[in-house]
């Protein structure tokens, strides 16, 4: 397949073919992280900047490790330690960074569309590391990779997403990818956290978690987005936990080989109980491991070959 993209901005405009190509490429990279020498010289001399205007542990570390295992140089910039605190605009920051000739910029920003704007004004490859409540494409790809690894396929599965669908970029990106592959997707959560007209994306809505998880092949838990005012939409976290916290009882109602996913960070005891998070169905740490391989593949495809 001919990979022609300069940027990875959202899942919505990726074709099935492109997604599978990223997954197949990631397969080749997964083994590198298991070796004694966890490094290949492929992106020697390339520079990757991670520009994060929102906090992150997993995504940023994952990108940084991915870049380093490919021998690229990485520089991390956090908004709270950068000139953003002195009032510099995103555009100016980005243009200044580009003058230092990076090959790729991974950006996380609270404004939806921020990565798209950078992609328009910069020559560097732009990777969306999460833009507001819009999309988080690399998370959806690593989720798809994990589903394929555990289920042996990416289609015809019953997938339940539970939680704050309205504010979750992970939910949105996953809905686009999973529906594109023809899965049955059920969104479950309190009515205040389910956006109106979400059915137009081809998903079903079920407010009762016990009904939603019946025979599910995959259960994807989402976090309450406290930083986006998520707790305003529920009377109390106690009530939320009682109605939508995933317990072993729910997992037992699902398919025998159900997998439980969570993009992290988990609010244990709220949306997911310890018995499930640490139970045999949990693939949460596999997701993190696969994240490195998928991000290596993305960096490789975007900046590895001739521009």
């Amino acid at each position: 397949m001919n990979w022609k993209r300069k940027d990875l901005l959202d899942i919505r405009d990726l074709s099935k073919e492109e997604m599978l190509f990223i997954l197949d490429t990631a397969e080749s990279f997964k083994d590198i992280s298991k070796r004694e020498i966890k490094k290949v010289p492929t992106l020697r001399g390339k520079t990757v900047i991670t520009l994060f205007y929102e906090p992150s542990t997993r995504t940023r570390t994952s990108f940084e490790i991915a870049a380093k295992r490919l021998s690229a140089d990485t520089i991390n910039i956090s908004a709270n330690t950068s000139s953003a605190t002195k009032g510099e605009s995103l555009k100016d920051t980005a243009r200044n960074l580009e003058s230092m000739r990076p090959d790729a910029i991974v950006i996380r920003h609270s404004m939806p569309g921020a990565p798209h704007m950078l992609a328009r004004i910069l020559d560097s490859s732009i990777i969306n590391g999460g833009d507001g409540s819009h999309e988080h494409p690399t998370q959806a790809l690593l989720d798809l990779f994990t589903i394929r690894e555990k289920k042996g396929r990416t289609d015809g599965l019953k997938i339940v997403m539970v939680g704050d669908i309205a504010h979750s970029r992970v939910a949105r990106s996953n809905i686009f990818s999973l529906k594109n592959f023809g899965n049955e997707v059920i969104c479950c959560g309190p009515p205040t956290m389910i956006p109106p007209h979400i059915e137009t994306l081809g998903v079903h809505v079920e407010y009762d978690l016990e009904k939603a998880v019946r025979n599910a092949d995959v259960i994807m838990m989402l976090r309450i987005q406290k930083e986006r005012g998520g707790t305003k939409y529920i009377p109390s976290t106690k009530e939320y936990s009682t109605l939508y916290g995933l317990t072993k009882k729910h997992v037992d109602r699902a398919a025998d080989d159900v997998i439980v996913m969570h993009p992290g960070p988990m609010n244990r005891g709220i949306e997911i109980m310890d018995e499930v998070a640490d139970g045999p169905s949990s693939v949460i740490l596999d997701q993190v491991e696969n994240g490195v391989a998928v991000r290596m593949a993305i960096l490789y495809l975007l900046i590895g070959g001739e521009p």
């Binding site: 001919n2 397969e27 080749s28 083994d31 070796r35 492929t42 590895g304 070959g305 001739e306």
Partner: protein, 176 residues
């Protein structure tokens, strides 16, 4: 496209048989030997050598598949370099690794392959077996076992066809 046949099916088989015996002779048997084929056609050649050694010595050598894409020195100039899996399911430390490829030309593929193997461990020795040595090296690399040595003009290409993927088996020279 004009082509000249260097080896036909039978000759390919005879050549691989000879390489196999040379490997066993030089290493005094098959102990601590392993085979690593370079994708794509080196893998099939290594497969044949493994089969022949099994027939002669009754042992099945550890076998690996190597994709050198990530170690290429021209990667930033390639259009869409596709990476395939490297699968080396054995410990290369203290092994004598026989690296197998179809055609040896500039030596750059072999340089990349050696680097890739050394990132996996420290083999005792690495030896190189190729079906065709077409000359014109750009690096100081020399095969330990060469099926045929055949200097070829710059505007010509040596094609090795293996029945497993090409449907027929031969070594030919074509004008490009």
């Amino acid at each position: 496209m004009k082509k000249k046949v260097l080896l036909d099916k039978k000759a390919v088989d005879r050549t691989i048989t000879r390489i196999t015996h040379e490997i066993l002779e030089k290493n005094e048997g098959s102990e601590a030997l392993s085979l690593i084929g370079i994708r794509t056609r080196g893998v099939y050649l290594a497969n044949r050598i493994q089969e022949k050694i099994r027939n002669v010595e009754g042992t099945s050598l550890p076998f690996g598949v190597l994709d050198i894409t990530l170690y290429r020195d021209d990667i930033s100039k390639l259009k869409w370099p596709e990476v395939k899996k490297t699968e080396i399911p054995f410990d290369v430390n203290n092994m004598t690794v026989i690296l197998v490829d179809d055609v040896l030309h500039t030596g750059r593929t072999i340089r990349a392959a050696i680097d890739a193997i050394i990132d996996l461990g420290r083999p005792k020795k690495i030896q190189l077996a190729v079906l065709v040595d077409r000359g014109d090296r750009e690096l100081p690399i020399h095969p330990d076992y060469a099926g045929i040595v055949c200097p070829v003009n710059e505007n010509e290409e040596v094609l090795v066809r293996m029945s497993e993927i090409d449907g027929k088996e031969e070594v030919v020279i074509v004008k490009t």
